[in-house]
Subunit: 274 residues, 2 copies
């Protein structure tokens, strides 16, 4: 069966076109697609090359390609519009109503969304990433005074990727601390965490999933045994209740969702917007 070609065209990275296109095509689960991102279309030559690629796919598949586009420059959009595909262009759709509401003509700003127009945002994200790395796993640093949030949970409950995502995406200073066996057994948090109680946020996860994740890391031994995993998760849950720590079960959620839920629940402000 031929998979229909889906193109994400952009004069930048294509991240916006991908996100937009994805959320739309997933509404048609019966269909089968092959997705291609064509980033950095910033010249007429590159626009014409994209047209040739789209036309070739159309001819080859005998199926009209879907073309999600976030090209800003009007002359490039004009070129691309000639390609044989179904064009879904956010600037075509939304720029006019926006312009009329704002009573301003749009300036053609390339790279407005992610460009170095915003060096300050870049630096903030880098600094937040360095913070997350230094304050990972209860490790090297414990700069909890300047943390926006401190994730707590058992080993492999998703703390590290979530902290890194919060840093890279939002510039949020997220530290994480893995609860130790001793803390779980006594049901007591260390003092340096109690002092920061308002910043704590718990991650939990279904026992079977945690076992599966831990087995990939260390197939043998207590670390991934059903008994150990159940003990840790049960005691962590008790601890969250005891200290009134808000928490989320990561089993059903993607990294984006976990991160959004943390910001939503804690009210932590994003330091940058993507």
């Amino acid at each position: 069966m031929v998979k229909r070609a889906v193109f994400f065209l952009s004069d930048q990275t294509g991240v916006t076109a991908e996100a937009l296109g994805h959320s739309l095509i997933t509404q048609f689960p019966g269909q089968s697609f092959r997705e291609m991102t064509v980033p950095f279309i910033d010249s007429e030559d590159k626009a014409r090359e994209a047209v040739r690629t789209i036309d070739a796919a159309s001819k080859n598949d005998a199926l009209k390609p879907l073309v999600f586009s976030t090209l800003v420059q009007p002359d490039l959009r004009t070129i691309v519009r000639d390609a044989d595909g179904l064009h879904l262009d956010i600037f075509d759709a939304f720029l006019e109503p926006l312009s009329s509401e704002l009573k301003q003509q749009p300036t053609v700003t390339l790279g407005g969304a992610h460009g170095m127009s915003d060096i300050d945002a870049y630096m903030k994200r880098i600094e937040a990433t360095n913070f997350a790395l230094a304050n990972d796993d209860g490790g090297v640093s414990r700069d909890y005074d300047v943390a926006d949030v401190i994730l707590v949970g058992v080993s492999r409950s998703g703390k590290t990727p979530t902290c890194l995502y919060l840093a890279l995406q939002y510039g949020v200073y997220a530290a994480n601390y893995p609860l130790t066996d001793e803390e779980l057994e006594t049901g007591t948090l260390p003092d340096f965490l109690i002092e920061q109680k308002q910043k704590l946020f718990g991650l939990t996860i279904a026992p079977l999933r945690l076992q599966q994740i831990r087995k990939e890391r260390r197939p043998m031994g207590n670390y991934s045994s059903a008994q150990q995993v159940r003990f840790e998760l049960r005691e962590a849950a008790k601890m969250f209740r005891r200290y009134g720590i808000p928490h989320v079960d990561t089993t059903e959620f993607s990294i984006e969702e976990i991160s959004s839920r943390i910001l939503d629940s804690t009210g932590v402000e994003r330091r940058v917007r993507p």
Copy 2:
């Protein structure tokens, strides 16, 4: 001066609505906005609460809020559409033409884009993140055999955040190796890198910017001196030329752009799509 309210509404994280909205409002640089994300609108109650928030902003500011929405469920969209704002809804705009081209009614699939419909993608991203952390900074592991790409460059040229972004966003296995003074002086790469030459990708950066970044880390000493920074960057550039390593100057680019350029230039396939 009153900043116009901009709302990003979503039944998921809001990342798509934010990306879409951002790329549009940056086309109107004269305006001043205050942005609010309202994620996880998954019930009529939450939809009505969003309407109240939007209406309050409209009344308070005497300026119509902009409302970027990626709500999937038709009943929630109907509720939200009553809010007093300029509605820019990607489903309203694009679902109908898509449906007609695909000859299929859209299924209302919540969380299609980022949900746990895709546990496999989640695991791949986590594993890629673990890989990036283990293979960071020429460190602990050197699992270069399974790497998709190995970033090389001087200290603080942007290697670590880029590797983490490639992992979290695309599930790409990215290692990084900081060129040592000795390697720079002799102009010779270590054997374990030469063996992986086809995977190498260089990052470079403007001397002044690098000095600024390094000074934040260690204000004193040779590490952030103009002389040292210039020496390292000059020798790294020679090395890239000598070994024919493709490279990008990170000075003007965001993490997203650097990552996209690496994928685009190397042809490395994304293991997951966001």
